[in-house]
């Protein structure tokens, strides 16, 4: 029986470490350790029920082990702040007054399209609609919005140095025009962190490691 307990603890710690390494894009609205517990409890309850060759007590002991580990993690979380960061993670500031923080996005295994998707879910359609944007430890996107929001739907043309051909077509922008546009900003495609354009031709343009700029471009597409 002690063996079941230890094996459960080993799986718990392994899963928790994996979930923490995987970052915020994988966990939805739960804390990492809560997510691990949800995964384990479902399996632990099912296996002894489904397999009659395994005594039911094995499932019960494993679930009690999960309870003890949950309570322990929760108490450590309350008592030791440094451990709270290790176990639950900390919020990541991904949008500042200078624009998108590429380093923070990479750290959380996210890209600009994931960020834009999270922003849309939170009700913001342009990257410059917020002063600050952050992913909480439980993966939820929070933002400090600007007083005036834009009321257009931008498309992502460049995501971390790569042009999105499908969106270029939607915006009615050809690659030659895009290259010229980038050259005018005295940079190269690979150095552009993000570029979006809306139907009014309003461009959000940000180079890696530099603040964003709002520019104008000719768009022929309708969306």
């Amino acid at each position: 029986m002690a063996l079941v307990f230890i094996r459960t603890a080993v799986i718990f710690i392994t899963l928790l470490a994996v979930m923490r390494i995987m970052g915020k894009s994988q966990i939805g609205e739960m804390q990492p350790f809560e997510f691990v517990i949800t995964l384990l409890i479902a399996e632990l309850a099912c296996i002894p029920m489904a397999d009659s060759s395994i005594p039911l007590l094995y499932g019960i002991v494993a679930i009690i082990a999960i309870f003890i580990l949950h309570q322990t993690v929760w108490l450590l979380d309350l008592w030791f702040m440094p451990l709270k960061t290790v176990i639950c993670g900390k919020p990541s500031l991904v949008i500042t007054r200078d624009g998108v923080d590429g380093y923070q996005l990479r750290k959380n295994n996210l890209d600009v399209s994931d960020l834009i998707e999270s922003m849309r879910t939170a009700g913001y359609f342009n990257l410059d609609d917020v002063y600050y944007g952050l992913f909480e430890a439980n993966g939820v996107f929070s933002a400090l919005p600007k007083e005036q929001l834009t009321h257009t739907l931008p498309v992502l043309l460049i995501d971390n140095g790569k042009a999105d051909r499908k969106n270029l077509k939607i915006a009615g922008i050809d690659e030659k025009y895009l290259q010229e546009f980038i050259a005018k900003q005295k940079t190269k495609l690979k150095n552009v962190l993000v570029m979006t354009v809306d139907s009014d031709g309003r461009v959000y343009f940000q180079q890696k490691g530099k603040p964003y700029k709002i520019l104008r471009a000719e768009v022929k597409g309708q969306w």
Binding site: M1, A2, L3, F5, P55, I64, A65, I68, L75, L78
Partner: protein
């Protein structure tokens, strides 16, 4: 907070107590059965084992396995059942040379089975 600490410590204490008891219980049950098998082995070796000797060992195992079903996987119990039935069948027919090998296997299983459930590094991984 206090309630959470108490419930966690209580669950931990009950679990540890249960682990210690289970470990001791398994070793005790298998030691007793192993002792009975050793006696049977000696009798088979002397060719003095009778139908009653085999039956009493089988009966002892039947009473033990009812409780063991709660604590160890049922497949392991079926495995022991299989070898014991074979050994008893051979003793009933006085095939001592063949029965000796079967009981030898049973002795080995009863020796190693409790170890498979004890808290050892090789069992954890």
């Amino acid at each position: 907070m206090v309630k959470a600490i108490i419930s966690t410590l209580a669950a931990l204490a009950v679990s540890i107590g249960f682990f210690i008891w289970t470990n001791g219980y398994l070793y005790k049950q298998f030691d007793e059965f192993h002792g009975a098998l050793e006696t049977l082995y000696d009798k088979i070796d002397d060719e003095t084992a009778t139908r009653e000797d085999a039956y009493s060992v089988k009966k002892m195992w039947e009473s033990k396995k009812r409780k063991l079903h709660i604590l160890i996987p049922h497949n392991d119990i079926s495995y022991l059942d299989y070898w014991l039935s074979e050994a008893c069948g051979l003793i009933y027919n006085s095939r001592y040379d063949l029965a000796l090998g079967k009981v030898e296997v049973l002795l080995r299983i009863t020796e190693s089975l409790p170890d498979a459930y004890s808290l050892k590094l090789e069992n954890v991984f």
